[in-house]
Amino acid sequence: MTNTYQLISSNIQKSTSWQQKYREIMLLGKTLPPLADILKTDDALVPGCESKVWMFVEFDLTENALVVIGDSDTRIVKGLLALILALYNGLTPEEVLAVNAYDEFEKLGLISHLSASRGNGVKAMVETIQTMAKQKAL
């Protein structure tokens, strides 16, 4: 688990109301650097989502690490993406496989955002990351 993620996660867990929690998440989204418009292609778009989510999951061979970038046109989903990015960015495939996003979202009281009915692209992002890690793991 990255230090950034641990910091973010403890911040969210300290929220005393759901309103505060969502404020934290939306602030987190604001810290995510926006994707350049040129990268917001249909190919990068997670299909079938109400919130637009663009994502790139790449594998850096020299660093043996996953590189994930993403953006969304909604504040909440963008915040959740920032959370996922903090959770997985820079990890080796083996480390990625050891991190369960569902457990983390459960701990943060955000698990409903990974449900099928949300259709928000966050679940798809987690699955893409996991699939990539499985392919690259030794």
């Binding site: 309103q19 969502y22 404020r23 939306m26 109400e50 919130s51 046109d73 909440i76 989903v77």
Partner: protein, 406 residues
């Protein structure tokens, strides 16, 4: 409003009496599906508890009772719409009913024909016609639409006169905006050029309870689950001769007259379109729903829904930064809106945390959304079991959500 007591009505709907995320549920998604009164739940349970048997197939007592009860509901639907029971076909919903008609016209339409629809239709009343056009070679055209997504009826009638479509398929009320279509002149114009007419009543059937003989359309489709009935059931009304002339949709048991190993003959409508074992429990539950609805005086019900809608629309429009897209003058009780440039997803997610159930997105009307230049919207849809208290809770929560975003 002596005969209509909103508090009493509300108690008939057990789902409404719960808290969501720690707040009392405010259900404003009746355009997607309505809640069910206890009598509907009881009728479905009772069928499985004591009446379960297949219909039209057994001489034993249970089967005969089930068949009678099942066919009685067909009569009840016919009464509701003021038509005859052999003009009612059971389907699994409005979508299947439209597909049934589109499929049934495959051998009738040719490349010389035009199918006319409107740009505000639900995808269920667009895609089957695209398929039919592709299959038959017919041309698919759309009616003109004002910038605010209302119809210029005179202009539409002109287009009907000019295009002489073989079929006009149009909604009774928009699921996204709630706008009611002024159908009478459109149907009259269509009839004048010999066009068939299909009305998508998924939204209109509950709120407008149309007299279909007066409306004079050839087909009218509806979904039971949007009329306080069970899911998985809907129906098609078809003017008998026109209905019976359609080719069958699915084939198999129940719909046949005589089968040899090489050839079969079909029964007449409605049986012709009802292959296989139907949704018997759904039909019986829907029977209870129709009895429930018909006990409510239509005028009183509509008056109540209108008052509630006007109240909701006026309080919503007082919030700075809200844009409402619905036509408030002629509406079944649906508010389509956005707040500034905020994504509707964020607002519906935050509203859910306050126990407010609204929809966000394109509401299966992408062409309408692009006409309005929107990526999506919020939709609050009301029904007669909603109260002014619901409106107040909704508006208060919306203000809180806006404060969270600003």
């Amino acid at each position: 409003m002596s005969s209509f007591d909103p508090k009493k009505i509300r108690n008939d709907f057990p789902t409404l009496n719960q808290t969501i995320n720690g707040y009392p549920l405010v259900y404003l998604d009746s355009a997607a599906t309505t809640q069910k009164p206890q009598c509907v739940i009881d009728a479905t349970t009772q069928f499985y508890t004591s009446q379960n048997a297949n219909v039209h197939r057994g001489r034993h007592t249970l089967s005969e009772q089930a068949t009678t009860a099942y066919e009685n509901v067909r009569t009840l639907v016919a009464d509701y719409f003021k038509v005859t029971s052999n003009e009612i076909v059971w389907t699994k919903g409005a979508t299947e009913a439209i597909n049934l008609v589109a499929h049934g016209l495959r051998n009738t339409l040719t490349a010389a024909d035009t199918i006319l629809i409107s740009p505000i239709e639900h995808h269920a009343n667009i895609v089957p016609w695209q398929e039919l056009a592709a299959q038959s070679g017919a041309t698919l055209k759309t009616l003109p639409l004002n910038a605010d997504a209302t119809f210029d009826i005179a202009q539409c009638c002109e287009v009907i006169k000019r295009t002489k479509p073989a079929l006009l398929a149009i909604t009774h009320a928009s699921n996204t905006l709630g706008n009611i279509t002024d159908l009478a002149p459109l149907i009259a114009s269509a009839k004048a050029v010999g066009a068939l007419t299909l009305v998508d009543g998924a939204q209109g059937a509950l709120h407008l309870r149309p007299d279909l003989k007066k409306l004079d359309c050839d087909f009218y489709v509806f979904s039971a689950h949007k009329m306080v009935g069970p899911t998985g059931l809907g129906g098609l009304y078809g003017r008998y001769t026109t209905l019976n002339a359609l080719s069958p949709y699915q084939t198999g048991g129940e719909m046949i007259e005589k089968v040899t190993l090489t050839h079969s003959t079909y029964r007449n409508a409605p049986a012709k379109f009802e292959a296989g074992t139907p949704n018997i429990a759904g039909v019986l539950g829907f029977g209870a729903a129709l009895e429930y609805l018909m006990k409510l005086d239509l005028q009183t019900l509509q008056q109540y829904e209108q008052q509630l809608f006007i109240y909701a629309a006026s309080t919503l429009s007082k919030i700075d930064g809200i844009s409402i897209y619905s036509n408030l003058k002629s509406n079944i009780g649906t508010l389509c809106f956005n707040y500034k440039n905020e994504h509707p997803y964020d607002l519906s997610t935050l509203l859910d945390n306050y126990g407010i159930a609204v929809r966000s997105g394109h509401h299966c009307t992408q062409p309408l959304m692009s006409h309005l230049n929107l990526n999506g919207s919020l939709r609050a849809s009301f029904a007669f079991y909603n109260t002014t208290k619901d409106v107040d809770q909704f508006i208060a929560a919306l203000k809180e959500c806006i404060a969270l975003l600003d």
